[in-house]
């Protein structure tokens, strides 16, 4: 039998039943590895269900810091009989299948090329706990204890996590420690520990944190000064507003009156949520909302209004599998085009593409500035993988001298000094007009906001020339936006290859890993990460400078590729799509494979490319 051997390089999958408290045990496992200084990347693979259906937690451990998903599972911990067939089959030859051996494993689940490790989890809980709920919960902690022995996770680290987790519920610490020990002792006494697939302390996480993107976005909204947060619950964006509310409740209560310096409003639907953002922003508050796929469709009419009437809007779109209800608990990047051009008529919206939690935090805070500066919707394009899974991320930082940009808002004094206020006059030549807030001045600055066509003084008009002047100015404003959005990231000082690769958001992890894999085979590709739309001029230059450019994304239609072609007038032949759209995060192996396949006559050609480089 094959025998896997590795240190700090493994993928482990936990197969659980939804609603049985496995999440906190699994988190404890991932956090322990992180605290041992080893880069770790956990992913929840969950059903659209509250209780009873199979759910998985997949953790990739990689001391080189590759955080994308990897195919091939080294270890499965299976506590869900429902999914056992799939889970047994998922183990790589030579890998390990850890299961609850309270009942004998049915012979149909026996493979001769994997190792079986039975831990009588249920039996142990029956012997040591009386309460049925505790029995269910501690079964999870028992397998973490067993893994501690099997994989060599430092027990002290686990103890530290339990102590932190139950700081306020001290009486739960004892039973948890006991469960850890039960699992640990059983594994130690019955198997050769550690296995050959194991962990070892390193110093490779630095000052990083392990945080999910939705929490980071929620914090970004608190730090960015958002005060009005209307929303409608939808997976996978719900936890984002939850996080905003949690931190606002902590940091935004008036110390004297105990009243809130924020309002979280659960709207009746996504339309109303967006309407409230528009109303609040129109009235000078910093407002945002979060949604996913179907919510974006529902908000489209209002996004058009905000674009045309020039009202700041911040929307965080945590993308999920579409179309329609699609795969609500799986990840994709399928809303690029529908977000960029949301709503009828000639519209276009500013998009930001964060690729890790730190950027989620920063992009959300900057989106509040940008939207006010540009007086237009800014959509932060996160996704389920980024939003709902923990990611190793540089720590969040804030410069205390930073002030909020309210954009071009005229005060009563300003109004006194100008000759005539024209809401849609392009005074500065950047396409961005000045606005006034209701209540500013008794006789100056009032205007009528409307979704209909208007002239420079906000008067309704159907005169063609005035309409054209207005929409052309909006286009000018959009070009100004390309200078204000975050610049793209280049991964080489100077181009070295005739091939380029473009990626963005959560494809970044795997794309960078794939580049290393290709490099090992002698193929070097220049890389560029898109961070925003409208596209920075350097993106166009990058594409021009390369013969062939791969565009990596997670949707069927290659939507970013289409956007690039449409916006930059690039020949479609130049951009080769590298796609993954099965709902799971793209892997480096897939990118590598598709790139290799895209070269005709593979190996010969690879050699030739190598020569050309």
């Amino acid at each position: 039998m094959e025998h896997l051997q590795s240190v700090n390089d493994l993928v482990i999958r936990f197969a659980n039943v939804n609603g049985t408290g496995s999440a906190s045990a699994n988190n404890m496992f991932a956090k322990a590895i992180f605290r041992m200084g080893i880069p770790v990347s956990p992913k929840n693979i969950f059903p659209s269900n509250i209780q009873g259906l199979p759910t998985w937690y997949e953790v990739r451990v990689n001391e080189n810091g590759y955080l994308g998903r990897r195919d091939g599972i080294d270890v499965v911990v299976c506590v869900n009989p429902q999914s056992m067939r799939r889970d047994v089959d998922a183990v790589k030859p030579g890998g390990f299948f850890i299961y609850d051996s309270s009942k004998r494993l049915h012979p149909e689940f026996m493979r001769d090329n994997i190792h079986y490790i039975g831990i009588p989890m249920t039996e142990l809980t029956m012997q040591h706990y009386n309460d049925p709920r505790q029995r269910q919960l501690f079964k999870n902690v028992i397998y973490v204890g067993a893994l501690s022995a099997l994989l060599d996770i430092e027990m002290e680290v686990l103890h530290g996590i339990i102590n932190d987790q139950f700081r306020t519920k001290e009486k739960l610490i004892g039973p948890n420690l006991k469960a850890l020990d039960l699992g640990f002792q059983y594994a130690k006494n019955h198997y050769d520990c550690p296995l050959d697939v194991r962990l070892e302390r390193r110093d490779k996480v630095g000052d990083c944190i392990l945080i999910d993107g939705n929490t980071a976005c929620g914090l970004g909204a608190v730090y960015g000064g958002a005060t009005v947060a209307p929303w409608y619950p939808i997976t996978p964006s719900t936890s984002l507003v939850d996080a905003f509310e949690k931190y606002a409740r902590k940091f935004r209560i008036d110390p004297q009156t105990k009243k809130k310096r924020y309002a979280v409003i659960q709207a009746e639907d996504e339309l109303a949520a967006m309407g409230m953002v528009i109303g609040a922003s129109w009235n000078g508050a910093r407002a945002f909302t979060a949604t996913s796929g179907p919510g974006l469709s529902l908000m489209s009419e209002f996004l058009g209004l905000a674009y045309f009437a020039e009202i700041p809007v911040v929307l965080i779109n945590v993308q999920r599998g579409g179309p329609s209800t699609g795969m609500p608990t799986r990840t994709q990047q399928p809303d690029i085009l529908s977000a960029a051009y949301a709503s009828h008529g000639d519209t276009r919206h500013v998009l930001l593409f964060p690729s890790n939690p730190k950027e989620c935090f920063e992009h959300t805070a900057s989106a509040l500035d940008l939207a006010n500066r540009l007086q237009t919707p800014v959509i932060v394009m996160s996704d389920l993988d980024l939003g709902m899974n923990d990611h190793m991320s540089p720590p969040l930082t804030w410069d205390d001298s930073r002030t909020y940009d309210q954009g071009k808002v005229l005060s009563a004094d300003d109004l006194e000094q100008i000759e005539q206020f024209g809401r849609y006059l392009d005074v500065d030549g950047d396409g961005i007009p000045y606005r006034t807030l209701p209540g500013t001045h008794p006789t100056k600055g009032a205007y009528f906001t409307r979704g209909t066509s208007k002239d420079e003084y906000a008067r309704y008009t159907e005169v063609g020339d005035a309409y054209v002047r207005n929409v052309d100015r909006l286009m000018k404003k959009f070009r100004t936006a390309s200078q204000l959005v975050p610049a793209p990231e280049f991964y080489q000082k100077k181009n070295q290859s005739k091939h380029g690769i473009i990626f963005f958001g959560t494809t970044t992890y795997s794309a960078l890993e794939a580049l290393d894999l290709l490099k090992e085979q002698g193929i070097e590709i220049d890389a560029l990460r898109i961070t925003a739309y409208p596209f920075h001029e350097t993106i166009s230059a990058f594409i021009e400078q390369h013969e062939k450019v791969f565009v990596v994304e997670q949707n069927r239609d290659g939507q970013m590729r289409t956007l690039l072609i449409n916006e930059l007038e690039i020949s479609p032949k130049k951009l080769t799509p590298i796609l993954n759209y099965d709902g799971m995060p793209i892997t480096a192996q897939r990118i590598e494979q598709l790139i290799l396949e895209s070269f005709p006559e593979e190996k010969m050609e690879i050699a030739a490319i190598k020569g050309l480089n």
């Binding site: 000052d207 310096r261 609040a280 129109w282 009235n283 205007y447």
Partner: protein, 350 residues
């Protein structure tokens, strides 16, 4: 008919407490049909704001889409206005109100805008008790698209195009009472004496104040048999009471026979004085209002006046426990927890 409004004003026009004349509350000239009920409602709004001595810029006017939603152009030109999208004014008003609790919010809508496309938002704005005046200019038809039936058209009515309405009319007032709206009134565009004090009371009410104003559409729905026509309403109008709105600082001078009047004190100390009360009806009792409304409906009467008021109304800010200072005026030091706190947050994720 002239389309240019003269700028000249008589120098001795009466001024209100803050020195404004009535024309300071007017807007652009109306482009609605001559005789449209909506224009009378606009005039009543101008009159109410003038009498209340509201600073025009402290009021924001919002609307959806339709003939009714055009009217904010025709009053209060020194107020910020927002002509939003069809049926979605309530959410815009809710957001605006959350941002700045210090302004007065006047929403104008129509029967298509509120009872059809915007029903969801209308209902939820009531439920949240957003502090705003919500006027429905109810003409029982779609004017701007040329006379189709609306959700408040009488059952059996024939539209201008000849189609018969097979469906019962939605009664927005009855619905609002069911939803426990805290201020519910109905009036008629042609009854200025009732409408002006009702608008004033609605502005003073700390919560969602619905005014369903029957406003005949002279072009498409002014047939004598229509319950939204001038003839019908005049013949069948039954007022619960005539109304005086008395601001706090004024002395109550009018007195009525005992048993024929009721005084409703508002939160700010002002008083609504009602007289000629309909029998078996108390403006502070929701159940009696519902009963009275149903009785009138069964008799084919259009019951108008202040139908219900909750004197203990708590608006959305009150329910949400937001700070007294408008949220849009909070600055970095009140909003941003700073880098020290962030360092501690980071530590929680290690």
């Amino acid at each position: 008919m002239t389309y240019i409004k003269p700028k000249f004003r008589h120098p001795e026009l009466p001024k209100n407490d803050i020195g404004y004349v009535k024309s300071d509350y007017e807007g652009a000239i109306s482009t609605l049909c001559a005789g449209c009920g909506h224009d009378s409602i606009s005039a009543a709004i101008v009159q109410a704001c003038f009498e209340l001595s509201i600073e025009p810029h402290r009021l924001a006017k919002l609307s959806g889409i339709g003939c009714s939603s055009k009217t904010p152009t025709y009053f209060l030109s020194n107020s910020h206005g927002f002509n939003s999208v069809h049926g979605r004014m309530p959410s815009i008003a809710t957001g605006a109100n959350m941002a700045n609790r210090d302004l007065i919010y006047l929403g104008v809508s129509g029967d298509g805008d509120s009872a059809s496309i915007g029903m969801g938002q209308f209902v939820h704005a009531i439920r949240r008790n957003v502090n705003m005046v919500y006027i429905v200019m109810n003409n029982g038809c779609y004017g701007l698209t040329k006379g189709q039936n609306s959700a408040t058209t009488d059952a059996g009515a024939t539209s201008k195009a000849g189609g018969i309405n097979n469906y019962p009319a939605i009664d927005l007032v009855g619905l609002a009472l069911e939803l426990e709206a805290t201020f519910v009134g109905r009036s008629f565009s042609g009854d200025k004496n009732q409408l002006v004090p009702l608008i004033k009371a609605a502005i003073s009410h700390p919560g969602f104040a619905l005014l369903d104003v029957v406003s005949p559409c002279v072009t498409f729905n002014n047939k004598p048999e229509s319950t939204k026509s001038y003839d019908y309403v005049r013949a069948h109008l039954e007022a619960t009471a005539t109304i005086d709105y008395v601001p706090e600082k004024e002395e109550i001078t009018v007195s009525y026979e005992p048993g024929m009047s009721a005084m409703v004190e508002m939160h700010d100390g002002s008083v609504i004085q009602l007289h000629k009360l309909a029998p078996n009806w108390d403006p502070c009792d929701r159940f009696s209002a519902v009963r009275r409304l149903q009785t009138a409906k069964a008799k084919g009467e259009v019951l108008t006046g202040l139908l219900y008021i909750d004197q203990n109304s708590r608006d959305m800010h009150n329910l949400e426990q937001t700070v007294d200072k408008p949220l849009n005026s909070l600055r970095e030091e009140e909003l941003c927890p700073g880098s020290g706190v962030l360092a501690r947050v980071n530590a929680d994720f290690r």
